[in-house]
């Protein structure tokens, strides 16, 4: 498992990085932690000849919470997400989910930007970002733009990001909602067999806001609008939850792989969604 040769770049600004990838088109790729890209390169499943390492760009790292808005630099590692107490207070679901990603060594290297940007349906952060209604900031040759996480994913490994754009940061609103990220996996470190992120707010006896998103249950993450509609305004009764679970399962579109056949994955989806809703309600 030996990667093919490439030219290595370590720019110190986003502008320089954008210029390199613009110059080289689809032969260039940016690398953050590299734990998705490098295995692919070792299997010679990518044809890139320029690797643009973002680690030299200081401004891409870090977590800030400002007036209820959380902003996370793309190069922030999973390990840093887990360790950040301010983030845990503002969006505790991030720590809960990040702890279920890969293993300690991979979390030291793997970044949130890499996790959300490459469009791997197995990654956990994309679904989570849809759940949090996050927006991604992309920088390209013609400047900066933002895209909603819920609009970002088109198909497996296909996203709204243009080839010459770099995802530089993620932002979302801090949330006091009840939360849960529930993931079934074959073993620790594995991609999800089925996973769901849920946020629920209550106002008196009824659900004032909710968010549900699924991981690895289709070729993109799925924001479950219909399921959310079943909860918002409801009293969160057993029937309401069942209706939401059914809607979420209905929105899923898993494919068969070594983790199991479609009918099992749909069943597992139902289990993780239900568990996540119930835990989120408890915490709301």
């Amino acid at each position: 498992m030996i990667p093919a040769a490439f030219e290595y770049h370590r720019p110190d600004s986003v502008e320089d990085a954008v210029k390199i990838i613009s110059d080289h088109g689809d032969e260039a790729r940016v690398v953050a932690g590299g734990h998705s890209l490098i295995p692919m390169m070792k299997l010679r499943m990518t044809g890139l000849s320029h690797l643009v390492d973002l680690q030299g760009i200081g401004g891409l790292k870090g977590i800030s919470v400002d007036g209820g808005t959380v902003t996370i630099g793309a190069m922030t590692t999973q390990h840093e997400l887990i360790a950040d107490d301010q983030l845990a207070a503002s969006a505790p679901i991030i720590r809960e989910a990040a702890l279920q990603i890969a293993d300690p060594q991979v979390r030291y290297m793997g970044t949130i930007g890499g996790n959300v940007a490459n469009g791997d349906p197995g990654n956990d952060m994309p679904g989570l970002m849809q759940c949090l209604a996050a927006t991604y900031t992309l920088v390209g040759p013609s400047g900066e733009r933002t895209v909603s996480a819920r609009e970002f994913y088109e198909a497996a490994y296909f996203t709204a990001r243009e080839d010459d754009e770099i995802l530089t940061s993620i932002s979302f609103d801090a949330s006091a909602s009840g939360y849960a990220y529930e993931k079934q996996k074959r073993k620790i470190g594995d991609y999800a067999t089925a996973a769901a992120g849920v946020l629920i707010s209550k106002d008196g006896g009824s659900c004032s806001a909710a968010s549900i998103a699924l991981t690895n249950l289709a070729d993109t993450p799925i924001y479950c609008e219909e399921a959310v509609a079943k909860l918002v305004g409801s009293s969160l009764s057993g029937d309401d939850i069942s209706a939401a679970v059914a809607a979420a399962v209905g929105a899923s579109d898993p494919s068969e792989d070594n983790r199991g056949p479609v009918e099992f994955k749909k069943h597992a989806a139902g289990v993780v969604v239900r568990t996540a809703i119930e835990r989120a309600i408890e915490r709301a």
Binding site: P3, L51, D53, D103, P104
Partner: protein, 163 residues
């Protein structure tokens, strides 16, 4: 492909070598620097046999390019202790039969070193969770976990005694 000039700190020593950017850190360590403690087990970042400490983080050196590591401060099993003074983790792995074929051991101990730096008094569950990136085919982990817990206890006792 042209080689690049790498500067690394490895086990406290400044080292320089030429390597292609695509060379993996594990190969640079093993082939160019003759540091053969870290091993190659799976090459897909699942087994952790290649674990080294890089800038205060446990990393799988089979999934880091030499170019990415340029400038890094790296500690391998060879840097943790020496025949005249073993690291307490090395002592405890010996004491509690925490190894058999020895192939996973350098990565295992190097990972445990960082784990205890971050969490000096872990529970068994925390050790099992914190070691989940390292596979062992021989021991069933029971004695590895025991060794790490024993090392933590020793290190804490030593710290207390020093105070």
């Amino acid at each position: 492909m042209e080689k690049m000039h790498l500067k690394l700190t490895v086990n406290g020593e400044q080292v320089e070598t030429l390597a292609e950017p695509r060379e993996l850190l594990i190969h640079v360590l093993r082939e160019r620097l003759d540091i053969t403690g870290p091993h190659i087990g799976c090459e897909t970042s699942h087994c952790g046999a290649c674990t080294v400490d890089m800038d205060g983080k446990s990393v799988k050196s089979c999934t880091v390019f030499a170019a990415q590591a340029n400038g890094a401060d790296i500690t391998t099993i060879e840097g943790l202790g020496n025949p005249d003074g073993l690291h307490v983790l090395q002592e405890m792995f010996k004491e509690h039969h925490g190894l058999q074929c020895g192939f996973c051991t350098p990565g295992m101990i190097t990972r445990a070193y960082r784990l205890l730096q971050e969490n000096p008094d872990p529970t068994e569950e925390e050790v099992r969770f914190g070691m989940a990136g390292n596979l062992c085919r021989c021991t069933g982990y029971q004695n590895i976990v025991k060794s790490i817990l024993a090392a933590a206890a020793e290190m804490n006792a030593a710290k207390e005694a020093a105070q």
